[in-house]
């Protein structure tokens, strides 16, 4: 992999740090008028998801990370792996539980997810921003209630639990924002 100097640092660049692929979020130059320049960089570790700040001496180089994002459709799980397919090449990739992380509760068959590959292996799965899932369990709630009273928990087919308005019932399909885990609305 190529090395990148601090001048090439920008949001989205993938580099290696402490043996882990990382994505640069922000890069800010700090330089006294008379003296050495530094780069204060905000970095997200792609496996642990941790965000940290790291300072480099300007001009230093770091090793790039062979990381790429690819959009794949979710097919099924065999209990150990989750299988995804490229809808154009029909090539399949299997991601393990670690790579899946929280995404597991938002997987809907045929939804296109972003799979992050490091050296060709999946390390992260990002579900679509919005998914539609059916409610399998929730309290009956009161008739005539409207949104905004705090709502109630509802369990979805994937096991995810989302707060929904009291009027939403078992068997209904709802739209959820996967970034916040919040209920968006009912799907007619």
């Amino acid at each position: 992999m190529a090395n990148y100097s601090t001048n090439e640092f920008k949001g989205g660049l993938k580099i290696m740090m402490d043996g882990e692929p990382c994505s640069i979020l922000e890069n800010e130059m700090v330089k006294p008028g008379k003296g050495q320049a530094f780069n204060r960089v905000r970095i997200r570790k792609l496996i642990s998801g941790k965000v940290l700040e790291k300072t480099f001496k300007s001009g230093e180089s770091v090793e790039g990370a062979d990381v790429m994002d690819t959009d794949l459709a979710y097919l099924y799980t065999d209990g150990e792996f989750w299988h995804f397919m490229n809808n154009e090449t029909f090539e399949q990739i299997a991601a393990d539980e670690k790579a899946l992380g929280d995404a597991v509760k938002w997987l809907v068959e045929n939804d296109v997810c972003t799979i992050t590959l490091w050296n060709g292996s999946p390390i992260a799965v990002t579900p679509p921003n919005f998914v539609e899932l059916e409610i399998t369990e929730t309290d009956p709630g009161l008739k005539g209630d409207t949104a905004g009273t705090g709502g109630k928990p509802a369990t979805l087919t994937t096991g995810a639990v989302v707060r929904v308005p009291l009027f939403v019932q078992i068997g209904e399909v709802i739209k959820v924002d996967t970034r916040s885990g919040e209920y968006v609305g009912r799907v007619k």
Binding site: E28, M29, K31, G33, K34, G35, K54, T55, K57
Partner: protein
């Protein structure tokens, strides 16, 4: 905004405030009989400072068919000192300065500098005058004053003037800079790292703060102090996480100045940096005689940022480098 980025990066309202500040500065000096001057942006020599990179071009024209190498000046300091040596008396300049390799929220490769010189002043008298200008423009209380040693010790509990390389490496590691510290053998680099990242964010938060008596190893163009050879007559002004100005009790000794330029170029050669021709016209002017004086350079864009409460330098200049 259009993808062509034709529109200014600063609002017209901010540019009006900026114009008013420039007017206030000029009036401040006018009432004090400090003469406004203009000196070349392009010069055949440039600063040897190992941490500054000059833009470089070639003039081709009458008398210079073979090309005359010219550097865009990183500050008007050398030419202004030549005016002082020629008997100009107190002078100021508001001009563009140019520094390659610098861009960010507090840096633009081309920026506006206010530089002024006061024959007969030492660094403390000049700090007094600067303080008045700050109060006038930023509407602040008089500035605090700390020596470099005090500022460093009060935050990091280590004396920067006596600290060993090992102590500085350990201190930097302790503060999260282990990767830099383990390979860094230059004490000044570690001091600058710790000062920038740890000390600066704690000083001058309510009112501006002068830090003076910088270590002699970071004297740049300042005199070494007579009372303590470990420190130099160099000061900086900080306010709200911004380095606003750098000033000197000016070095007037031509031999010492030439020696510092040579040392910079020797360091440049050892570290793969380009050689920068020493400004022999400055050295000749010092040999002729520079009056005892103090001088300071202030970043006007940053001053406007503080006066208008903006976070980014591009918010106070008409067109930043991405729109230039």
């Amino acid at each position: 905004m259009s993808a062509t980025l034709w529109a200014p990066s600063a609002s017209i309202e901010t540019l009006k405030q900026r114009a008013a500040i420039l007017r206030t500065i000029r009036e401040f000096f006018y009432t004090r009989n400090v003469m406004e001057v203009e000196t070349p942006s392009l010069s055949g020599a440039s600063v040897t400072d190992v941490h500054l990179a000059s833009f470089y071009t070639t003039f081709v024209g009458p008398g210079h068919a073979g090309g005359l190498p010219l550097y865009l000046q990183t500050s008007p300091e050398f030419a202004m000192k030549r005016l002082l040596a020629a008997g100009s008396g107190p002078i100021f300049q508001l001009c563009k300065a140019f520094r390659n390799e610098e861009a960010g929220s507090h840096h633009n490769p081309e920026f506006t500098m206010l530089e002024w010189y006061r024959p007969g002043f030492d660094e403390f008298a000049l700090m007094d005058e600067m303080d008045e200008l700050m109060q006038l423009i930023l509407n602040v209380e008089p500035a605090e004053r700390l020596t470099y040693q005090q500022a460093f010790e009060q935050v990091l509990a280590l004396d920067p003037l006596t600290a060993t390389l090992t102590q500085l490496q350990a201190l930097a590691s302790e503060h999260g800079f282990a990767d830099i510290a383990k390979n860094e053998t230059n004490k000044d680099t570690l001091l600058q790292l710790l000062f920038c990242m740890k000390v600066e964010p704690t000083i001058g938060q309510t009112n501006p703060c002068f830090v003076y008596h910088f270590p002699a190893s970071q004297a740049a163009l300042a005199q070494i102090c007579e009372h303590d050879a470990r420190v130099a007559g160099r000061f900086e002004l900080y306010y709200k996480n911004m380095e606003l100005a750098n000033g000197f009790n000016e070095l007037t000794n031509a031999k010492e100045q030439a020696k510092r330029f040579d040392e910079d170029n020797a360091y440049r050669a050892d570290n793969g940096l380009n050689h920068v021709p020493m400004d022999k016209r400055l050295i000749a002017a010092l040999e002729h005689g520079l009056p005892k004086c103090a001088g300071v350079a202030m970043g006007i864009d940053r001053l406007v940022m503080l006066a208008t409460d903006k976070d980014k330098i591009k918010d106070v200049i008409a067109f930043d480098v991405e729109r230039a």
